[in-house]
Symmetry: C2
Subunit: 213 residues, 2 copies
DNA sequence: CACTGTGAACCCGTTCACAGCA
DNA sequence: TGCTGTGAACGGGTTCACAGTG
């Protein structure tokens, strides 16, 4: 790693995911031609970015390219996987066995990237003990112990807005490292726990704002 | 409207949604006390923002507050609804009747905000003609005509990555105004069509990056 | 006195432009 | 020659600090 990952813009990380996705696509499509290298211009064109930005983003982490040639596809892919932590397995739990929970459990992108859904947790007696797409549904009150004993590092919050903080607290007690919060509730936890929010209403309201102009 | 909505940072729009959410919550919780006003400091505290930022965001659109007092909750709520276009009804269609599609159809936040799901579209003969949470599933090939005749302004893309561009093109042909794209595909359309991307893998990969440091 | 509205300063990410190298 | 890596310039969003006002 070139730098100690300090002055790196946080949006750069999002883009690394996008570049990686782009390389995956190249691998699939061009299975025959088997392109060996790709330029920042090509990546930019495929992803809708600016070439300079692509180069700068990548340069934060090393000198992966060759001047006059471009980036070796295979190697760049490996490096991106390493940087993003996709070369490891990650245990995650999902709190909330609703529709969104189900969508996430079945989401193929997860397994592909080493995300291993270890359990789903809910408070509904009707659901506890059942399975959702091969994964067992546990009592939400067991989530703390589960996280602890099974060494789960990532929790996904898809519970109701009003129970979100309470469940997040349980996750924190269990020693969770990061939470992906799909509820519209602003979660407060010790700052060493990484929280990332995804809010579907916000996304739609952005659109209506611009349509409404 | 104070300004012509030009020099307004695009992230400000996201935050307006968050402030609005915060006001809604106040309305629910304090049903008895019925607070009349709220300060930028309180909003900031509830949402995890900076007070100056709250004030600046709101000031882009008018002078909603009173010095020494704060913002009148009811009125600010009304104004935010107006700004975000939530005082109107919006017709949306969902392309893709998978799990995520289902989660979105059932998502309560939609109806609450005037988002009216008019139809779901899929290419699976097994699904076409059936219903998903009260909404009829149509043949994906009819989406263009449907958008046109029913005057649908927003399309949600939850199809497979490889058919995403094709379906987006159909939407565009039908005269869609904005697309919320949940697929990992970079969609290319005329620039007058607003596209907004939400990518679940990216969100998770952000977390693994930071856990991996 | 408390809190808003806002110009100015600051900070950070993007883009440019070019030196450096295969 | 073609394309990377990067310092410098730019632009835009955030924060500060305070004047203005109920």
């Amino acid at each position: 790693m070139k730098q100690n990952r300090k002055n790196i813009p946080s949006i750069t990380i999002n883009r690394l995911s996008i570049y990686y996705r782009c390389l995956e696509k190249l691998g699939e499509i061009e299975g025959k031609k088997k392109l060996k290298t790709i330029s920042s211009f090509k990546i930019a064109e495929m992803t809708g970015m600016n070439p300079a930005q692509v180069r700068k983003d990548l340069a934060y982490f090393g000198e992966f390219g060759k001047r006059g040639i471009g980036y070796p596809i295979d190697n760049l892919g490996r490096e991106l996987r390493k940087i993003l932590g996709l070369d490891k397995e990650w245990s995650i739990v999902i709190a909330g066995a609703g529709n969104l929970g189900k969508a996430l459990v079945d989401y193929k992108g997860f397994k592909k990237r080493g995300f291993n859904v270890r359990g789903i947790f809910d408070n509904s007696p009707v659901l506890i003990g059942k399975k959702m797409g091969n994964i067992l549904i546990y009592d939400i009150n067991e989530i703390e112990k589960f996280i602890q004993t099974e060494n789960v590092s990532i929790g996904v919050l898809v519970v109701t807005a009003h129970s979100a903080q309470e469940v997040a607290d349980k996750m924190a007690q269990g020693g969770i490292k990061a939470i992906l919060n799909f509820t519209p509730t602003h979660i407060k936890l010790p700052s060493d726990i990484k929280i990332h929010n995804v809010d579907l209403s916000i996304e739609l309201e952005r659109l209506t704002y611009y349509l409404n102009m």
